[in-house]
Subunit: 492 residues, 2 copies
């Protein structure tokens, strides 16, 4: 894998001087076309051997291009705020928006490789991380990102020479620390971990490019040329970027029964029992969120449901049991322009709670496989891949300590009609009913199918769906509170 | 000040039961009108005596209204990321957008009051903080925010009774900690600091309301009613919300000389000297940003200038000396929709660098007093107040360790014309010239006046302007590099 990069590639001064002016002009040109088009982000991952010139080359790229439209990020130790979210959160918030170039040092590869090389994690744990990374990069690519992964390589001898020469020069001496020499001592283990990593994660949509780091001119021209050609090619490509689906299409069950029409919507709770149960379960929920162990967890509650199914009322019965300082409700409307310039999960990533806190999503990332699917706001390949992407996302949440609870509030078409009419007649409910609600109602069967598929594909042992019979609001609210309590009790 | 709040105000159950249903419906109503209009944010500050029911009342407000459009924030210890920015940064990033209600506990009043009550800061330092807060709140109000400041009060006896009763009840015992009793012991000093604070910061646009905290029903209805009436009144107000200016209007100097036309634009540096100096000053800048002491500072560079004055090229000569991992360039274009829902400084607040880092603003908050003034994007009262607001902002930056360096790049109209024509002819510069540039050119005298006023009013000892003669790019770039080095040398 690294053989070709140990050949000692180089470009002489004369050739370099000839190539560079055109390359620079072309790179600038393509960069502005990218900016103008705003069609996709360019994500450049920089990894490799210490001393192989990663920093110098990136600095040079910034010099060649317009640095105003490049965001270079380096990641050191975790901050408090990062420590309390999934490990990927720090990278999620550093992704460049469409039209920009983001260069990420010390990215999602750094930690798994280093930890495996140091013997802190076994091969199977490394592989688990790499599989997660592969799925993440595939999602980015499917969202349109153009991804470059550069590995700057040096042979063991070349690394030693390079470190020594940097150390000799008074101008660069400061750059060499004990860490670098430790890295050198650990060269073989590091190379082994890296080689394995590169093999496991080099894919069509996000391939690795190994660059011989021994000659500055060679490595810079190489990286610059690859960048130029790929961005140019991608900009010229006017066709459909969505992938064809190879999986079997989703079909309806042959009989007419499904998860939703099997629900017993006649379940109800009378007024007196409701008042008593409400107090009991709110009290229990309150105690659970004040449990000392909850300080090391977070709670993420997802509400989806038919229009007028009573999401708002149910949320208020939850928050009624909570301290307002601990929760945040995230009402999900159409994405803003900053959100549209990012992968569709980005607008949820930014609202993830810290430990000890609660986030309640009033509609959620499931919009992708519900409204966006039914209304055709995204293509079939896009919503088809979303199921797996969402499962990954929720797995990362739970791995970072979150308890994820998801509710679908189901009502019958007749009950919905009754509520729509009531809303139109009630003064302070008028805002709750719009033309769109009536239009959505006409698509009832399409939504029903989408909901059944969603539950089938995303109800996991880590983050199961709870279907809530919501024709009777009392029944629905108590079931929701009970479910939340059970989930927290199991977790604490 | 607190006398009336110690009378033991109360509302009996019967009256409460009669008032609340209408109050709730009205509050919901007004909340949706606010949301629909998206005209202004509502900022509610909650302060007061421990045990006076702050948390309970806020929870109740969340229950009465739609909590999806209320953002309740509490602030505990500083996070790493907060510690490396101005103290107000954590509040800046928690402000509600237009159309929403934000409730802030432990807000900007908490720290100054507590520290003064504990004897950690003297009265004059407290007053300095209060003056800063007054200016900040005035800016928010001028930006359209509706600000409520509630002080929940209890007499010393009442606080003691309340703490004891909470402690007796097994359901609430957990809430009382040693901190609360310490607060009680320190009651008198705390009240003195608070009284002084309330007096210094109660103003027409952001008055304090002292609420008797002894009776839950009374305090909740009081807060709810004030909120309702004020938001309703403000929504009904269709008129101009900008204030009339009482200050004397800005006039041009009687003679025709000004800061800009006194510049010697013939200054130039020849090619050979430029190459030598560039290397010298870039080298020095590089060393300075690697100085160990720079780890406790940050560098904020502001670029403004005539169109085609060479900002981009100058920025690249700076970044050419820097490690791409340490700096971020913030190109300032039209604000996004999220940015438009916030005070005009918000979009700069979000890009402030951590310690040890550099942010370069390619155009900046000075747009307010330049393009927005000249093009009439904001009213005269708005840009007139901006000078003082910007000075405050920069003072906070420098107090938090930032070195702030501001450049105005000046060219002559003739030189600008030459460059515009050149840009139209050069392949990879074509993106740099637009219709708008030609239009701006027609307003040269208006911009010239705006620049002179800006420099007069915002060139402070903490963050001075440097006017750069930029007809010759070599001269401009060297002067900029020299200025940056001098500023860093003075600071480190």
């Amino acid at each position: 894998m690294f053989e070709s990069a140990e050949l000692g590639h180089s470009i002489d001064k004369k050739r370099y001087a000839k190539i560079v002016p055109t390359l620079r002009a072309d790179l600038l040109d393509v960069q502005y076309d990218l900016k103008q088009s705003g069609r996709f982000p360019v994500i450049i991952l920089i990894n490799g051997i210490e001393g192989a010139g990663k920093g110098e080359t990136v600095n040079l790229l910034n010099e060649w291009m317009d640095p105003r439209f490049i965001e270079t990020r380096a990641f050191g130790g975790l901050t408090d705020e990062e420590r309390e979210r999934p490990p990927m959160w720090r990278f999620w918030r550093a992704l460049p928006p469409k039209g920009k170039i983001g260069i990420l040092f010390g990215n999602w590869y750094a930690d798994p490789i280093t930890r495996h090389a140091l013997g802190k994690i076994e091969r199977d744990e490394l592989d688990w991380h790499l599989a997660e990374i592969n799925r993440f990069e595939k999602m980015l690519a499917d969202e349109g990102a153009l991804i470059f992964k550069f590995w700057f390589h040096l042979s063991k001898d070349a690394q030693k020479k390079r470190l020594k020469s940097l150390e000799r020069d008074p101008k660069t001496r400061w750059r060499i620390t004990a860490d670098d020499w430790r890295a050198y001592k650990n060269y073989d283990a590091h190379i082994e971990a890296s080689q394995h990593t590169l093999r496991q994660t080099s894919q069509g949509h996000a391939p690795w490019t190994v660059v011989d780091g021994s000659d500055e001119r060679y490595r810079s021209v190489t990286v610059g040329t690859i960048l130029l050609e790929s961005v140019r090619k991608r900009l010229a490509w006017e066709g459909d970027t969505t992938r064809r689906i190879t999986a079997a299409p989703i079909v309806q069950p042959i009989d007419s029964s499904n998860l939703l029409n099997r629900l017993d919507l006649t379940k109800r709770i009378g007024k007196a029992r409701y008042a008593k149960e409400l107090e009991t379960w709110q009290g229990r929920l309150n105690l659970l969120t004040r449990h000392p162990k909850f300080g090391a967890r977070s709670l993420i509650v997802v509400f989806e449901g038919n229009d007028a199914a009573g999401k708002g009322g149910a949320i208020r019965r939850i928050t009624g049991a909570l301290d307002a300082r601990r929760y945040q409700i995230v009402p999900v409307a159409a994405p803003s322009e900053e959100e549209r310039a990012q992968p569709y999960l980005w607008r949820f990533w930014r609202h993830l709670p810290r430990l000890g806190r609660i986030a309640i999503f009033d509609r959620s990332w499931y919009g992708r496989v519900l409204v966006e699917r039914v209304e055709g706001y995204c293509s079939e390949p896009d919503w088809m891949r979303a199921y797996a992407e969402i499962n990954d996302f929720e797995e990362q949440l739970t791995a970072a300590g979150a308890v994820v609870v998801k509710f679908w509030l189901a009502i019958s078409p007749e009950e919905q009609l009754r509520r729509f009419k009531e809303r139109e007649d009630t003064r302070f409910k008028r805002f709750k009913i719009t033309e769109e609600d009536w239009r959505n109602r006409d698509k009832w069967p399409l939504y029903e199918a989408a909901v059944c598929h969603m539950v089938d594909r995303t109800s996991t042992e880590l983050a199961p769906w709870t279907l809530v019979e919501a024709n009777d609001k009392n029944h629905a609210r108590i079931k929701i509170l009970k479910t939340l309590c059970a989930a927290l009790e199991a977790a604490l």
